[in-house]
Every structure is written in C-alpha cells, then in structure tokens.
C-alpha cells in the first residue's frame, strides 16, 4: 500500500481523495466532478481502502451506511409486525397450547400463522435479537471507520487551499477585486464578529466555527452502544430481579428476589371518583362513563431479618419502614422497588359454621375455619368437636370418585367434616361446599354455614435493576451527541487571493446551508467580495432573473 504524494509535497495515506493539507483532488473521479463529496473530508477510510481478507469484508459490510439503514428498516418492519396482534406477554393464558388456541379463536387463520411463525413473541425471538446485535455492530464499526480519519484531516487542514479544491466546493465564487488585501482584512473582522475562528496564511483566510458539532454523531452512537451494553448486562445474575407477589391483607410474606426482606400488608385501598366528592368540573365525565378509578394503594410494613437471626422467626425481624405503595409511587429500599400492579377484591378469608342437631335445630356451638391455614380439629365442648378430614380450597367437581381442587386459592372452598358428638361418638361424615351438602348416609347432625369473612389481595411487582443508571447514562450521552450534531453546524469559509487581483471564495457546511449563506452575504456586503454561486440551487438564480425581467 503506497502513500499518495500530493503536488504540494504532503504524503497522504493510501485511499485519500482530497489531500489532507492543501485539498487538491487526488483521484481521477474527484478531479473530474463539478462539486466534490466533502463527507469525511475526502480522507482515507479503512472500509474504502482495504478489500481483501474476510475481516476486511466484514468490516466493509458493517461500516456501510446503506447496510446500517437496511438494518434499521428491518428492525422497524419486524417491530411493526409485532404490534399486529397482541404479544404473548399481553395474552391472558400461559401454556403453549392455550396460547395457540387463543390466537386461533380470536384471529382465525391469521392468528394461527402468526403463532406458527413465532411472531407472538417477536421481541424475544432469535432473529430480532440478532438484528439488534447487527445494528450495534454496525454502529460501532461505521463510527470507528469514520471518526479517526475525519479527526486527522480536520486537524491537518491548512488555511491556504489549492484553487482546485476551492473550485469544486458547492459554494464557490471568483472575481476581481480593487484591493484584495483590504477585502481580506474587512472579511476577517466581520467573520470574527460572527464568532468564526479565523486563521490567515499568505493571502488566504480560513474561517471556521462549531467544529465540535462534527463529533455529535459519534458521541450519540457511543451513547447508543452504552445503552445496548446496559441491556446485555441484565443477563448477569444479581443485576436484574423481576418478581411478582400476591399478598393478602394482614399477611406477612418473604419478598421474592429480595432475600432477608419481609413485607406485611396492612390493607388494600381502592378509591373511585364519585360525583359527591370529586371536583364539580368532573361531573359531566362521571355522568358519561360512570365511575373512574382514583387510587390503588397497599399500605405495607417492610421488615428485615436481624443479623444472625433465623429466617422465619418473626421476633428476629426489624421494622425497616412503613409505606403506602400507590401507582407511580413505588416502595424503594436497597436497590429494590416494589410496585402496585394489580389487585383482587374480596377473597374468602375465613368461614364460620355452626354445628346443629337436625331434628331440633339446636346449636352445639360455632367454629371458624381459616381458609389459608385451617386447623385439624375444632373443639366445641366436652365430647363435641368437628374434625376437618379434607379441604379443597378451589373445589372443581369430582374426578375418579374424588373431589378435586383446581388451585390452592380459596375461590370455592369445600370440606369433608367429621362431626363427633356425645350422641354419635364415632363421628358422622359430611361433605360441605357452597350451597351443597352431601352425606354418605343419613346423619343426625349437620354443619351450617353462618358467615364468611373476606379480604383484598394486592398484586405487587418487585424489581431491582442495576443497569438503570447505565441505561440513563447512555441516554444522556446520546442526547448530548444528538443535540451537538443537530443544533450546531460546522461551517467553513475560505477566502484567498488568486492571480491578478482576483479573489476566490468557497464555503462548506455539513448542514444548514441557508444560514451559512446568510452569514456569507453579510461578509460579502462589508468586504465587497465577488459573487458566489450555490451549485445545487439552480432555481433561485434563474427565478431571480425572471423576477428582474418582469
């Protein structure tokens, strides 16, 4: 790979399009075109230079902006397909067969195809993750490929450029001047007042501002990489906890994912806006939609195991804090957050029964069964007791001659009681469910339902995410970079003396040519510079001429 020697004597790396020092075009293509491609200052980029080995090919593939855009579009299209039908996460069933059936029932053939293709879990699919990985790779390689050559050539650029460089700029003007030196002096003064950095050299002037904005894209890409890196970290144990817990009023439970911590629910509160209490202004809306939820709240106490205390022993717990968890105000401690996510109202807590003699209706006493933690035997009096032989919290009919419970949650409790009385010391058996009593043979006694106590349950989510600060940091870096690159533009104006009292002007900016021209016009007015032309705007020159003729 030989170096490219420019006529000015500067030695450029292989692959250079415009001489780093004087700006002379080096390639035949650059020499022939009317305006030159100023991206990356015509510097030698790895991807444009080496094309031999596999590594070169991979590098070139990912450094291409076109490939980058294709990956962005691919992510965009797959993301959009994923919103066609609800994702697995939002489907109210859990087993694979149920999910398949759900899509088929609601969306027919399309639902089945959607399920079969794996689109129902699009964002966890290997191809989606691969696409995001490719995007990350592309961001890194494309940035590295450009930022170093760009930095070098902006650093090496000389004030005096060769005329051939000036002539291929988008904004270029050439004309005679009465006093080129005076014009240059006035231009320098005006440019400085417009906050340009002005450098001069042998009858040439380079005014430059906001070069830092050229680094904006690379900084925002770095921010994106930090963000993607943060997401990768979630795979490491201890960095990320995502658990849910259901807690009943009055219960104390260990917090899943947060060893050593316990949570007690002191009560769940659900409030609605009512016409009487809410602001008068809401009346119309409440009339139209009925009730509107106002607040979901779980009052809790947080406990921590004492140093050296055995788990499960309540006397070894220390109260950490009492708090009301409401939506948008999670409980936070030791890097964890607990969120109010869901609730169930009026779960059965306990049922109170009465043991009565059928014939006389006489009561032998009452007993209360705790539906979460029932006792084996309820003593009512001397020689009178009720034994709980079997308990089905969520009774769901009889299978193979045995009653079955479909869950451990007391939605539909059923019991097999053995009633021991002085009259029947061997005991009588009875199956009791809601609105149902079954006896194997005619009994003398029965268990009567008296009342039920209910309580609410709170659905809470426990999160710990040590990556959040990394993600936030990535986001801030991205915003800094994107603002730098979007709200400032790198502008350069070259003015230099040509042959025989002529002046050459050229200007370049990476964005926002309109403002550059406005500034150039101000300099032109004061320093009487020759007229320039914007070679990409053919309209305004021709239309101005038409206007003049009218």
């Amino acid at each position: 790979m030989s170096k490219i020697n420019c006529q000015c004597g500067h030695e450029n790396p292989f692959g250079t399009v415009l001489c780093e020092r004087c700006g002379r075009p080096q390639t035949t293509e650059a020499k022939q075109s009317e305006t030159v491609d100023m991206r990356y200052e015509g510097s030698a980029r790895r991807s444009q230079t080496y094309k031999r080995s596999i590594i070169d090919r991979i590098w070139n593939f990912f450094s291409s902006v076109k490939i980058g855009i294709s990956i962005i579009v691919a992510v965009l299209v797959t993301s959009a397909i994923g919103t066609l039908f609800p994702q697995k996460l939002y489907v109210p069933v859990s087993t694979d067969a149920d999910i398949a059936a759900y899509y088929e029932r609601l969306y027919g053939v399309f639902g089945t195809i959607y399920y079969k293709l794996g689109f129902y879990d699009m964002y966890n699919s290997w191809w989606f993750i691969t696409l995001v990985g490719m995007l990350g790779t592309s961001i890194i390689i494309a940035s590295v490929d450009r930022v170093f050559p760009l930095y070098k050539s902006l650093k090496k650029q000389r004030t005096k450029r060769h005329a051939s460089f000036m002539k291929v700029q988008r904004i270029f003007g050439e004309g005679s001047s009465d006093d080129p030196d005076e014009a240059l002096g006035k231009a320098e003064e005006k440019l400085k007042s417009l906050r340009y950095n002005v450098k001069t050299e042998e009858g040439a002037l380079l005014a430059e501002k906001n070069r830092f904005s050229r680094w904006g894209p690379y900084i925002n890409h770095a921010g994106l990489i930090i963000f993607l890196f943060g997401i990768l970290l979630r795979g490491i144990p201890g960095f990320y906890v995502d658990e849910t817990m259901w807690i009943r009023e009055g219960e104390t439970r260990s917090i899943p994912g947060a060893p050593g911590y316990f949570l007690e629910s002191k009560g769940f509160i659900l409030e609605n806006y009512t016409k009487d209490e809410a602001k008068e202004i809401y009346g119309e809306a409440l009339d139209r939609v009925g009730s509107i939820a106002k607040n979901y709240q779980t009052d809790v106490a947080l406990y921590k195991n004492k140093e050296g205390g055995l788990p499960g022993q309540s006397e070894h717990r220390k109260l950490e804090k009492e708090y009301s968890i409401i939506v948008n105000k999670p409980l936070t401690f030791d890097g964890y957050s607990i969120f109010q996510m869901d609730f169930r109202l009026d779960e059965l807590k306990a049922m109170t029964f009465q043991l009565t003699q059928k014939e006389t209706g006489k009561s032998l006493g009452e007993f209360t069964v705790d539906l979460v933690d029932p006792e084996d035997t309820y003593e009512l009096a001397e020689g009178t007791k009720v034994k709980l032989l079997d308990y089905y919290p969520d009774y769901d009919g009889v299978e193979n001659g045995e009653p079955v419970s479909k869950s451990p949650i007391p939605n539909n409790p059923a019991f097999i009681f053995e009633m021991v009385t002085p009259e029947k010391p061997d005991g009588e058996r009875s199956f009791v469910a809601i609105r149902q009593t079954l006896e194997t043979e005619e009994n003398a006694y029965k268990v009567n339902f008296i009342k039920a106590d209910t309580r609410d349950i709170s659905g809470l989510t426990i999160r710990k995410d040590r990556t959040l600060y990394i993600l936030l940091f990535g986001g801030i870096i991205f915003m800094i970079g994107v603002a730098m690159g979007s709200y400032w533009n790198h502008r350069r104006i070259w003015i230099q003396k040509g042959k025989d009292n002529t002046l050459l002007i050229a200007a370049h900016t990476n964005k926002n040519w309109f403002s550059l021209k406005k500034e150039l016009n101000q300099v032109q007015d004061i320093a009487h510079l020759p007229a320039y032309e914007d070679r990409l705007d053919k309209e305004s020159t021709s239309e101005n001429l038409e206007g003049d003729q009218q």
Partner: protein
C-alpha cells in the same frame, strides 16, 4: 365552570384566527415574488400576526383548561390532539421566523385546522386522572413528545410543498397518483369531521348489548347509524337502524361503522370537489406552491427533522422510559404505543442517515418526510383506537 367555558371559547377563537391567517398567507403568495429572501411583504406580515394571535389564544385555552382541571390538559384524545395542533402552529411560527416563507404557513395552518377539527370529535369534558396518569411525568413526557412530533410534522409540510411544486402533474405517474392519494386522505379526515358533526347535531344515538372477545356481556352506544353490529348484539334503543352485518368478537363494529361512514362522506366530498374544480386536487393546490424555492423547502424539511428529532427522542423515548419504569415497573414493555414510538424514531434515524447518501435529497427526502408524518398520525389514531394497549385512553 366559568374557566372551562373561557377555555373552550379561546380554542374557538384560535381556530377562526388560523382560518383567516390561511387566507392572508394565500394573499402573501399571490402578491409575492419567488421565495428566496428573508424579506416579507405586507400580506405575509398580517398573516403571521393573525397566526400569532391565534396561537396565543390557543395557549390561553391550554392554560385555563390546565387550571380548571388541575392537571396538564393532555390526558385524553381530545386534549392531546388539540395540544398537538397547538404545537404544530408553534413549530410553524418558529420555522417561519427562521426562513420567512409564507407558503409554509399556507399549508401548515390548514393541516393544524384539520387536526383541531379532528380533536373536537372526541369527548371534550374534563376528566379526572386515573391512578396510572397521576404523575408529573404526564406533563413532562406528553408535552415533550407532542412538541417533537409537531416539529417533525413541519418537515412533512415542507415536503408536501416541494412535491406539489416539483411533481409533474400533467403526465400520468406514480408520483402524481400518490400525491393525489395524500390529498384524498386529508379529505377523508374532513369527511370524518363533517359526518361526526352532522350526526351529533342531529343527536343520533343507538344502544346495544353484545358479547365481547372475552365472552363477557357488554354495552355499547353508537353515535352513527349502525352499519355493523357487535358480536351477538341486541338493540336497546327502539326504532334504531338494524345493523347490516354482525361482526366477529375481535372487530369493534362501532369503530368500523364510524370508519365506513367517514370514508363514505369523504368520498362524496372528494367527488364534489373534483366536480367543482374539474381537476385533481393536487393540481388545484399546485399554483400555491409554485413560488416556493425547492432548495429552501428541502432544507426546511431537513432542518425541522434535525430540530425535532432530539426533542422527540427526549420526550417519546427517554422521558417515556423513566415514567414507564415508575408507573408500570419496567422502562420498556413492547406495548404497541411504545413500539410505534420506536418505529417513528427508527424511521427518522433512517431519514437522517439517508440524507448522507447522494440522491436522497430533494424529492425522495420530501416523500420520506410525508411518510414520517403518516407514521406519527398512525401512532396517534390507529394505535389508540384500533390496536388496544396500555395507552388506549380515548
């Protein structure tokens, strides 16, 4: 109650002001020269003054409603869309003072007018906040996101002007077809506003019971004569029109009915306009774009994406993630609205990268800007009303 009525009167005044300003911008273009300088003629000055008066009234609406309701008025479809219209006008004013091009006003204001008209078809009463929305992030996130979207939308306006000026409408081409399709879509939105207003003035309503997709009984009220019935519907209102067809449970037949009525009205309106002008609508509007400078419009399009993109990122992604973490325990959950915000972001990221390649300036860039606006509108309208998710608050 008084404050709320002041609020809606201010909104009405701003609506009228935008209508008048549009006429003056039209005058500014007719009397003006080609737009290459940053000098303005008299008509242009009057037009921008009226626009600013309208904008101030619009801000007045926003503030008084905020005071009356006790929260930032961006909590439902009416409020959000009205605020979006307001910010669109604000973004236009910003870019007008950067570039001084009356043609931008002539096209941006009618779009803002259509958006405000569309907004007022939704329930307008002040609603209390549900628990998930009770956070200062509602104010911060929604306002920043809407501001970003509205600046991005200006690039579509510039793009539309560029296309109207540069697409050859005398010859049959794909470009001519799609440009007319954009005009047709705008007429459809007007069709929705017209039909919805007509039936609401007539006070039409029909109530039904039906079985929803989770096989539970539910009730629904139509404001349009029901063309389509919900799954296993039964009429509650006597003498109401019998639906023509019953829909499966996943289809919201009410939305479908509204949609079909709007399309129908839109088509009638479009045909009427074609009969009156005897030309495609793009051709009717073309003379108004002829004074614009293509290079300048291309630059306004690019510049507004440059200004809007960081604001959109901050509001619709970063603030959104922070709030989502606080309210829903996760910063990202692939909710349709979230995904469509990401899609919008990716689209404009692709737009910005394409500008680096040769040949993607000018016409192609203008088309992309128009498509970007369609994506933003899709996220606002379709994702809210059709694809249900956590953000369905209309």
């Amino acid at each position: 109650m008084a404050l709320a009525s002041i609020s809606s009167n201010l909104l009405f005044v701003s609506f009228i002001a935008y209508l008048i300003a549009t006429l003056f911008f039209g005058g500014a273009i007719k009397g003006g020269k080609a737009e290459t300088t940053d000098k303005n003629n008299k008509w242009g000055k009057v037009a921008i003054t009226i626009t600013i008066i309208g904008f101030l009234c619009h801000i007045g609406y926003f503030i008084t409603r905020w005071i009356a309701s006790g929260h930032a008025p961006v909590s439902n479809m009416f409020e959000f869309t009205t605020a979006f219209g307001m910010m669109l006008v604000g973004s236009f004013i910003l870019l007008f003072f950067l570039y001084r091009t009356p043609s931008l006003g002539l096209f941006a204001l009618p779009i803002a007018i259509i958006i405000i008209g569309y907004a007022s078809m939704f329930p307008k009463e002040i609603t209390p906040l549900i628990p998930a929305l009770k956070s200062y992030w509602l104010t911060v996130h929604v306002i920043t996101a809407a501001l970003g979207e509205s600046i991005l939308a200006i690039s579509a306006v510039a793009g539309l002007i560029y296309l109207l000026k540069n697409v050859d409408l005398t010859k049959k081409s794909k470009q001519r077809f799609w440009l007319e399709a954009v005009m047709f879509t705008l007429v459809l939105v007007i069709g929705f506003v017209v039909s919805s207003t007509a039936f609401s003035i007539a006070g039409y309503e029909a109530k039904f019971t039906y079985i929803d997709k989770n096989e539970a009984p539910a009730k629904i009220e139509y404001n349009y004569p029901p063309l389509f019935g919900m799954h296993e519907y039964k009429a509650l209102t006597e003498g109401a029109m019998e639906p023509i067809a019953e829909m499966p449970p996943i289809v919201n037949a009410k939305t479908l009915t509204t949609f079909v009525w709007s399309i129908g009205t839109g088509i009638v309106l479009y045909v009427l306009l074609r009969l009156i002008f005897r030309r495609p609508l793009a051709m009717v509007l073309q003379p108004f774009a002829k004074k614009a400078n293509s290079q300048l419009m291309d630059e306004i399009g690019y510049r507004s994406v440059l200004i809007g993109f960081p604001v959109f990122t901050l509001g619709a992604l970063i603030f959104a993630m922070i709030w989502a973490h606080e309210a829903w325990s996760r910063f990202w959950g692939w909710d349709p609205k979230e995904v469509w915000a990401l899609i919008t972001w990716l689209f404009y990221a692709a737009f910005l990268h394409l500008r680096l390649s040769r040949g993607w300036e000018g016409e192609k860039s203008a088309w992309l800007a128009v498509i970007g606006f369609i994506i933003i509108m899709f996220n606002l309208i379709a994702v809210n009303l059709i694809i249900a998710g956590l953000h369905s608050y209309a």
